[in-house]
Symmetry: C2
Subunit: 300 residues, 2 copies
């Protein structure tokens, strides 16, 4: 089991703030990368409908954004945020920013697309251009009728640079949106993290599968995660798609977070075993919407 972010605050108090008993085990099961591909959209939508996930977030610059934005607009009952995106990591399936490339030259590579890696983003990014671009992504989602419940960040460049982190938190506050803050990255900043991100932030325990394994061991991994969920607020980040021609081509050469990986994630979450494990371990599925209502009661 890999812990993605560790505890950054008293977890039990968060459960109480959200209206649950102090020792409640709350789990946001979160589908990343919605909008990436039609395959990812269909799998995420089916997982929402089957209660395999309780939340998810959309990559606004990706080719299949209009499809998932239309779903989000027409299904406000599902808890959907924005997966702010500054990278395009696949070899032959690319995107650039929402803003014209000429307005964000520091984010665009020699081929006219976003950089592939977090390292390249950190090497080149002008923070002012990052701020403009993430605002533009939120504005485009709003213009398409999406009512996001939270923000997070694809591949994490906003988590690992102090200046970018401040921008991310500031923009979240301005839009009345809670932001995901993974505590393992926060550790880079030491005990004075609150100085950087300000007050009134939530640091859930986080879990994300980072190691590939045979499909028949997939259930064991997630069962172990669920056995170890602690009281307070937790988030399990998953990556969903159907293992079909489209997703296989996107992820060609990348078994990690690849096409079969995403099908395996989907299969587990819609299984009876997942539901039984939630029940057995007294885990309640939670949404970012609930956190938004507590953090921004004037703008639910």
């Amino acid at each position: 089991m890999i812990t993605f972010f560790s505890m950054g605050q008293e977890q039990k108090s968060i459960a109480e703030k959200l209206g649950y008993p102090a020792d409640a085990k709350l789990l946001i099961v979160h589908a990343d990368d919605m909008g990436l591909a039609h395959s990812a959209n269909m799998a995420s939508i089916e997982a929402f409908k089957k209660k395999g996930v309780s939340s998810g977030s959309i990559m606004v610059p990706c080719p299949w954004f209009p499809e998932i934005a239309d779903f989000a607009k027409n299904h406000p009952e599902y808890d959907i945020g924005l997966h702010l995106t500054l990278t395009a990591e696949w070899d032959q399936y690319k995107w650039d920013g929402v803003l014209p490339s000429s307005e964000i030259p520091s984010l665009i590579n020699e081929n006219g697309f976003f950089y592939s890696s977090v390292e390249e983003v950190l090497q080149h990014a002008d923070p002012a251009e990052v701020e403009k671009e993430i605002r533009a992504q939120i504005d485009r989602a709003l213009a398409f009728g999406v009512k996001p419940t939270h923000l997070d960040n694809h591949m994490g460049p906003l988590f690992v640079n102090q200046e970018l982190l401040k921008i991310y938190v500031k923009v979240g506050k301005e839009y009345n949106l809670p932001v995901l803050l993974p505590s393992n990255y926060m550790g880079f900043y030491g005990a004075d993290i609150e100085e950087y991100v300000g007050e009134n932030q939530v640091f859930p325990f986080g879990y994300m599968k980072m190691e590939n394994m045979p499909a028949d061991e997939w259930d064991d991994f997630y069962n172990q995660v669920l056995e170890n969920i602690k009281p307070g607020l937790n988030e399990l980040i998953v990556h969903l798609a159907f293992d079909n021609a489209e997703m296989q081509a996107i992820a060609a050469g990348h078994p990690d977070y690849g096409s079969l990986w995403r099908q395996n994630d989907f299969n587990y979450l819609v299984s009876d075993e997942f539901k039984k494990m939630l029940e057995k371990n007294n885990i309640r599925l939670a949404e970012w919407r609930e956190i938004k209502e507590v953090l921004y009661p004037e703008n639910p």
Copy 2:
């Protein structure tokens, strides 16, 4: 049968210029819309390999451009040009230009994408921005290692406006690339068409399926086209994709040129019947590369 463009010059002389007998029936079988989708790329590549098409062209602004550009770069033996693109016609699968939107505002709609229809393009387009954008599409293809053999135009806005037509022809000459000129549009300009497009242009007889029908009548349509191919240069424009989840989602609500339509086109072209019909009617498959070599002998 629908004739897409009619004869604009003495066809037999073209066959001779290309080194064939004067009465040779030459047919370019041309896959439009490469780069549109992974499904379209895979079907087009398979059709090339099975000699179901002899030529095709790439939509540079589309999400799956890098995949097909990589194929074209590594397979110079296939005859591949550029399908200059100024429209994004599907409901929930969109793209914008190669240039930053701020440099081509007259081509971009309120959602930040290309307009859906030719009518909207003609209503809004600034010709100077059209010229910049089509040059940028060619330059991006060249930068990706594609060596295009010709230019044509997705949905045809460059064919129906005199100023845009002149730009298209001018840019083709500057890049030493023959351009597709469909004579039925050329008819708008009357007998003085040469004044607009200049000398040394090719006007093939053209055929394109424009009417949907049950799959079992698909072969009859194309067989009839092939029975009626005339001596000289002809082009049959086809639209290839596999009828799968990706293509069905792209074309949702659009049976014309939709997912099944493209599968039907593919099925016919890789069939034994197509090969037999070519043989029976003494039709030779031709390439734009041959035209390029005649028109631009210094820059083959």
